[in-house]
Symmetry: D2
Subunit: 312 residues, 4 copies
């Protein structure tokens, strides 16, 4: 198939590479051209602009940072909406709001184009290995048409609904669940530490017994070591996703007290200068609130000038 691919960040470049490997004709576009080079050497065509990536395509993927970027790429002048051929499908893999997914479906529908929400679970290494989990939703024919493409980028595709927004809701709620694990571990470790238990030993007990899942090991280690840099997934992205979860929940009239707690954690983290930290740094805040001498205690702007210098 002829496929356009817009957005070559750490996730998108891996996904595009796997589309190439599966034998598709892939035309890539990225705001900064350098990120496209490796793909071009692997056989991708380089689009001069968004419209070029859509021209003659059977489908075009977008994998971008947030609602604003997707809006611009789709609705902007020379955007996907204007350039994609009738009958072709826009596959949106970005983590965007449920509301925007609804707008995209409506707009593409009016334009005679197909629309599939296909967000993914997995980190950049899974994207590179074609081992993502893909959650796909959209009209049956549109999903069927892009199924071979989704197979190329992931180890499994979950079709959830004929309504595209459902896939976005699954993705967002998944990130909510991960953030919930971070919060719960942060509280438990603050309690254990103040109770005189070594954080690492505590984590070892948890992950050797009931909580052996990788997610507990990965995030538990970051919290136990208070090592929040470099950021695998930066705090502002976590904050954005929780905001989108709460926005979806508001539209559906679903109270989510735990999500509200996470919201406040992220705001406090960012208010203390934590925007470059990994999102797991919210797991440091329960310790701060308990009076422990934590990393996040030290990132307060009020203390930055003194403690940071002296830390060296």
């Amino acid at each position: 198939m002829k496929v356009g691919f817009i957005g070559l960040g750490r996730m998108g470049s891996g996904m595009a590479a796997n589309l190439l490997k599966a034998g598709h004709t892939v035309t890539v576009h990225n705001r900064t051209r350098e990120r496209a080079e490796a793909l071009v050497q692997a056989g991708a065509r380089l689009a001069t602009d968004v419209a070029h990536a859509c021209r003659d395509a059977d489908a075009v993927f977008s994998m971008l940072a947030n609602d604003e970027a997707v809006r611009e790429v789709v609705f902007g002048e020379g955007g996907v909406l204007a350039a994609l051929p009738e009958g072709a499908v826009h596959v949106s893999s970005s983590t965007i709001s449920v509301a925007l997914a609804g707008e995209l479906q409506a707009a593409h529908g009016e334009a005679g184009q197909g629309y599939v929400s296909a967000p993914v679970f997995g980190r950049p290494d899974a994207a590179a290995a074609g081992k993502l989990f893909v959650v796909a939703a959209g009209a049956d024919d549109a999903v069927a048409k892009v199924a071979p493409l989704l197979e190329a980028i992931g180890q499994k595709t979950f079709g959830v609904s004929a309504t595209p927004q459902a896939a976005n809701l699954v993705k967002l709620s998944g990130n909510f669940l991960i953030a919930s694990v971070i919060e719960s571990l942060g509280e438990a470790m603050a309690l254990a530490e103040k109770g005189g238990i070594d954080r690492h030993q505590y984590l070892d007990i948890l992950t050797s017994t009931l909580f052996g899942a990788p997610i507990y090991k990965t995030y538990g280690a970051l919290i136990a070591e208070r090592k929040f840099q470099p950021a695998g997934f930066a705090a502002p992205l976590g904050q954005k996703d929780i905001r989108l979860v709460l926005a979806a929940a508001e539209a559906l009239q679903v109270p989510l007290p735990l999500a509200s707690l996470l919201r406040d954690r992220f705001l406090s983290l960012l208010a203390h200068g934590g925007e470059e930290l990994d999102w797991s740094a919210i797991g440091d805040l329960p310790g701060r609130d308990a009076g422990l001498d934590t990393v996040t205690s030290a990132v307060s702007p009020g203390f930055l000038s003194t403690t940071r210098e002296n830390a060296g």
Copy 2:
């Protein structure tokens, strides 16, 4: 070794059986005698009372329902404190408060007896199979003395501290973490369901991807099916454990907002007549609050008398 064992519930009877299998001389006691019969047939001696189970013992285990039961068995007339020989060790495996563990250590210390807190992770089937995880804390010599006994009942022993309370804190915080999983799944499923996604399919996606741990599968299935009876671990026990977590956190001055949320969930569940439900029924409350027609919507005593009649 000569071992007394007090409390032959579903957990205790399995533990005592494994002590027997390991070749120890075990004298058992239970408030109701019937529960001891299988063990007696397997070679255990039947104690006439608590004191009898302690007499001449190298160690005595207690595995009881709550603080009150432990207090009575230990501090009551003819209790463990009075009957246990000097130098022998009381191994407390019950899920009790951190404060009571501290009292027990002090009292046994004054009496020249040893004290080890050794709560366990695992369900009755793991207890029967000798596959529990044991978290042990206490003075080094006391822990060393009972190490062969702990090995007999579990697949692994984690020694966490010379302070017995540390083991109880680990156990309680572990239950807090499980309840946190229940709450987060409950909120996510309420959101997904109101968003038009099938609960079972949603859970399948979660557990096939990021949340493959048994704990998500087990509790996720109960919440998705709204099947909270029969109770594997009853709501009042869950409420008790969260209360003990909060009590420990108060003593250590650790704010735990997520634990407070869980507390309110359990109180609401019990206020609506949920005391016979499994503790995972708190995962039904986010749906109730979102206006879904849930099991817990229907257990309100206020409704039972009126709407139920009228519903027919």
Copy 3:
């Protein structure tokens, strides 16, 4: 002065009447014309459209329901922005978002017009009596120019800042404080009632002692009587204001856990069909969660079909 007035709801009509009484030349506009009649009889001119109300005006007030209405009236074709003379001032008294206030200031500034945020505290009767409290913010010269107008509508004007958004933040946070009173009273009354204390007697003690302020009497009585209809200020408006508070807090990176709790209360109320109830009905939810047989227990859509019929 020549003044336009757009939005003649229960608040706006009282405000416009007082501008007339103070001797100003007032041209009024409302989407539905009937609401303008009494004012016209009192001497107001009737505008044919928004632009007409702005023509030749020294200042134009807008008093509308929400951001969407204000956006349409200001930015729409023939809107305030296009029609207001250079140098004239737009006085926005609607309860709108902090973000929109910022947009309005920027847009009017570019158009050479003045902009003042002047939200008010007080109910329709205070508006009719010219007894509102006005919170005004904007450039000094703009505020000074409209000061006589603000004096005409209120008993006192508080000038808070040269930045218009500050006034909106004060207004929104004031509504947050009122909702907090409702929540706290709701929790306290649920506790008292389950403790066997008569709700009315309980409220009487509170308001006779520490909580004599009218706000406690007014809302306390509604909660004690569970009388949430007719709505003085409807639940969806309360939900909107808390949403705007949280949005402002997010932009300023301020965690507000109590506001988050209120958000969840409003969502639960609306999810149970409470959109026609007064916003004080969130004060009924603590009782519902405690298993009391409350009004909000009965508005669940799942039960509407049965309980409502049988209630008669």
Copy 4:
């Protein structure tokens, strides 16, 4: 009447003085004798011990710090229970737990004595002026018997129930309501301050408009000035009262999310070394969480040793 009075703190001494003024024969007792001197000069008799204060009395008041102190004075050797004549009434004005009030009623009932819970609202100056509000509950005859005494200490007596615990619940819930005001003001002020509004001006607007009650003025000023010393009502006492509210709510199965939030605030305050601050210092924590440079940011023990030195 012959009245004993136990506990001559700032509240108790004022209350005892007013009993004297009303013409009653008052025998006073305090753990430290100095506090009794002024009363003795005013005509009170000095008891040698608790029993002495009860001997021949028609009624004995206790006004003590907490449950522990009341337990010792009542149930200890030579305590009120043992020494009070049959038919005489114990009036407990201390802010104690609902559970203890229940125990006291039962114990005095068995001993043929009367028991009335009569906690008060008001500060030391109101106690000195006989202007307290008294909330009284107990058997009708017991309440009737001590009515003249309650009139002597307060400006009004509210009889709430034949069950003494009801009065304690009213008192505790009143303190919960005050703490709720503090939290809401703290959140609102953090938002206003980060929004560029002067805290004092903000408070002035609030208290000039909707929130004119003394409680908003008093606590608002403390929060706006961040002046939490000297403590009028110390943080540990506030924490204790919220604990007692939550304990009562747990027994009655009433979820109180706002009370849980307050609990966490107090724990965080105490964890940062705030035990000598006024309880209104919890109103400083929302600002701390928002990254403002607050008093409570600076009281962290972890910072005291390092940053303070380095700040110079």
